[in-house]
């Protein structure tokens, strides 16, 4: 039986006085790709952030289990070290910190030991080649002055380097040109086989390249419909009006 990596049950989330997630249940196994689609403001990023442990959100009901354990008390960095990864919709800039240094330190933190410089360089070279990234990236400051597409590429580079068990990809496809989309999709496919993936996207075009097992439609903080890849096609053609009736 395939391992259940992530289990979200009846999740209710507030920010301040406002409820954003209204009871979500979701189960992702290793090797599965789940896509989440939904209108702007539906709560997609909130869901991803809450799973990663963002301190701004309060879980008022429900649970999140990762690898069979309730992770409610786990800190963000502990989740990362346990193999969870979030590709950000809006990655933060860290001025003055070079990408190369940042990657080395992150790999060391997540793996629990610093990789040998030689080994690390080899891995990094391969990953960058796979993503068609220039070496000059390494001496730039993390996301500082990056274009939208460059930021997303860096997120995927981190995913390749950190080798997560559970990847949450929040609009990783937005801002990418056509070539970059293909390259990033290949990057996701490269890890998807042995990883659980939760992909948040607005567009069918990514799902043409990365085949989801399940597509969920999120409306006002609730999953109102789940189905196979054909659901994404239908959304692309008909928009969200028809699902409103389900909400």
């Amino acid at each position: 039986m395939t391992e259940v990596l992530l289990r979200v049950e009846n999740l209710h989330v507030y920010v301040g006085e406002t409820q954003i997630i209204h009871g979500i249940t979701l189960e992702i196994k290793r090797g599965e790709i789940h896509a989440i689609m939904g209108r702007n403001g539906a709560g997609k990023s909130t869901l991803a952030n809450v799973i990663m442990g963002h301190p701004a959100y309060e879980i008022t009901d429900g649970t999140i289990h990762y690898k069979g354990e309730d992770i409610n008390e786990m800190e963000v960095f502990e989740r990362a070290r346990a193999g969870m990864f979030l590709s950000f919709q809006y990655p933060a800039a860290i001025p003055g910190v070079q990408v190369g240094t940042f990657l080395r330190k992150s790999v060391a933190s997540v793996r629990g030991e610093a990789p040998s410089p030689r080994e690390f360089r080899k891995e990094l070279n391969e990953a960058m080649k796979q993503l068609d990234m220039d070496k000059s990236f390494l001496s730039r400051y993390v996301n500082d002055g990056f274009s939208g597409g460059e930021k997303k590429r860096l997120e995927i580079l981190q995913m390749l380097m950190l080798q997560p068990d559970m990847a949450l990809l929040d609009e990783t496809d937005s801002g990418l040109d056509i070539d970059a989309l293909r390259i990033v999709a290949e990057g996701i496919n490269a890890v998807a086989e042995h990883t659980g993936c939760l992909i948040i996207t607005h567009y069918q075009r990514l799902l043409d390249l990365v085949k989801p097992d399940v597509v969920h439609v999120l409306i006002d903080g609730k999953i109102v419909e789940s189905g196979g890849p054909e659901l994404a096609v239908k959304l692309e053609q008909e928009g969200y009006d028809w699902v409103d009736a389900l909400a």
């Binding site: 952030n49 990663m52 442990g53 963002h54 301190p55 701004a56 800190e75 963000v76 960095f77 989740r79 990362a80 070290r81 990864f85 979030l86 950000f88 809006y90 990655p91 933060a92 800039a93 860290i94 001025p95 003055g96 910190v97 940042f102 330190k105 992150s106 933190s109 997540v110 400051y141 981190q158 950190l162």
Partner: protein, 468 residues
């Protein structure tokens, strides 16, 4: 701690290693006689004695400075300072007397035991004198003079006499007067015409234990078309029971010469660090100050450049880190005295746990200095609500053709940055450390490698235990 132990702590920084010298200790407080005794003990020429005495009288009469955090200066008790001491290496301090938190920091910084003892004042001499000597030999082959200031005065009195006090006269301010009266230690460097010293010259404890002092005095002269990069200080906490440190640094860059002077200082939290640093840049010359201040109770330091010759350039890059109970009052002063001179000032400060950092700057353009350009950038990063940061820029612009830019920003560490870094496996403290190191990076990258690495580690340590 015993009085003897305290004296020994003071002693290591004077860098007197005469094995045959007996313990000589002056009583606390200052008088003309003390000044004369210091000069006599050092067997100085008559003219130096007279400069000291003149400076002493000026010090006694001079008001406290009005530039800087002047209220805090009132609490300095000049009568309770020992102005000179000299003792044999035998009066070493006990390692047990060095405070535990300082020892811990040494360990965390990975400083070798011998150096730890030196920094803690347990040994007065650090063994790598040999390294210093071999570097000195290299320099000597190029005709470069590099000595401690006391030896410089002994061996090259005519050069010292010509330049001493020409950039920072004793009448400049109360503390430059004090330094002139009682100075000891510091470096003396002369670079001959056209000589480029490739390696940074370090007055680092690792190389030259004689260098640091309570009232050190440094004089660097780069003759026409020459260049030198001088580095002083150290990132490890310099533990001191002397509460008053008042140095003077004078730089002279002749036509087409370039001097870069880099400093990283980390005094213990009881120290008043009041330093007058000033350089003169003649025609087409460059003077650069790279200045990092961590620690101390109050630092007042405004590296200055007098752009005296046409086409001269000044560069000041400084960082300050103010933690609990600390005030870093730092900045820069640039005086455009000649046409087509340019300057660039970058100041970065971090305040944490109620610390306060201030940028205090002076930019002057005289009427005859046409076609000048200057850019000033001040960035402050606040790590919590209790901390404080302020900017006091002063401008005196006497020539309308000047092209001036001034940017100032105050920022906070954002929750988004922390969440991003923590989602990559870093603890909150590690994340803070990365953000802080990144903020200082424009400074750190200017430092020699080993200083940069140590400074980063030190800041990471500073972030530990600070988050609640």
């Amino acid at each position: 701690m015993t009085q003897e132990a305290q004296d020994a702590v003071g002693d290591y920084k004077y860098g007197f290693h005469d094995p045959e010298s007996a313990t000589i200790r002056f009583d606390k407080g200052l008088s003309e006689q003390v000044v004369r005794d210091i000069s006599e003990l050092k067997e100085e020429p008559e003219w130096m004695t007279e400069i000291r005495v003149k400076a002493y009288h000026h010090f006694m009469e001079r008001e406290m400075p009005t530039w800087g955090n002047c209220e805090s200066l009132q609490s300095i008790d000049f009568d309770n300072v020992t102005y000179f001491l000299r003792s044999s290496d035998k009066t070493e301090k006990d390692w047990d007397d060095v405070p535990d938190d300082i020892k811990r920091t040494f360990d965390r910084l990975g400083i070798p035991e011998a150096e730890q003892k030196w920094l803690g004042g347990v040994t007065a001499q650090y063994e790598s004198e040999a390294v210093y000597h071999s570097i000195r030999e290299d320099l000597e082959e190029q005709g470069v003079l590099f000595l401690d200031m006391d030896s410089g005065l002994k061996e090259y009195p005519e050069i010292v006499r010509k330049y001493f006090g020409t950039v920072v006269p004793h009448t400049d301010n109360k503390f430059s007067a004090l330094n002139t009266a009682v100075w000891s230690g510091g470096s003396f460097i002369y670079v001959p015409k056209g000589v480029h010293v490739e390696m940074p010259v370090q007055a680092y404890f690792r190389i030259n234990a004689k260098n640091m002092g309570q009232f050190e005095r440094t004089l660097i002269i780069a003759d026409e078309g020459s260049s030198i990069h001088y580095v002083e200080g150290c990132t490890a906490p310099t533990y001191s029971t002397d509460s008053l440190h008042s140095a003077v640094v004078e730089l002279i860059a002749m036509e087409g010469a370039k001097i870069r002077y880099s400093t990283v200082q980390n005094w213990s939290a009881n120290v008043y660090n009041l330093v007058t640093k000033r350089g003169v840049a003649h025609k087409n010359a460059t003077v650069e100050w790279v200045d990092g201040n961590i620690g101390s109770k109050l630092t007042m330091k405004y590296p200055a450049v007098l752009l005296k010759g046409e086409g001269a350039h000044a560069e000041v890059i400084s960082v300050a880190y103010a933690g609990e109970g600390q005030h870093q009052d730092a900045g820069a002063k640039v005086h455009h005295l000649a046409p087509n001179t340019t300057s660039s000032i970058l100041s970065k400060s971090i305040s944490k746990n109620g610390g306060r950092s201030s940028y205090r700057g002076m930019l002057q353009v005289t009427p005859k200095a046409s076609g000048c350009r200057s850019k000033v950038v001040c960035d402050a990063l606040m790590l919590d609500e209790d901390s404080r940061s302020d900017t006091y820029p002063t401008m005196e612009i006497g020539n309308a053709s000047a092209d001036l830019e001034h940017e100032a920003s105050v920022s906070k560490v954002s929750g988004d940055q922390l969440f991003y870094l923590m989602s990559r496996g870093h603890t909150e403290e590690e994340a803070m450390g990365m953000i802080v190191n990144g903020f200082f990076e424009p400074f750190t990258r200017e430092l020699p490698m080993e200083y940069a690495v140590e400074l980063n580690r030190l800041l990471e340590l500073e972030m530990e235990g600070s988050i609640g």
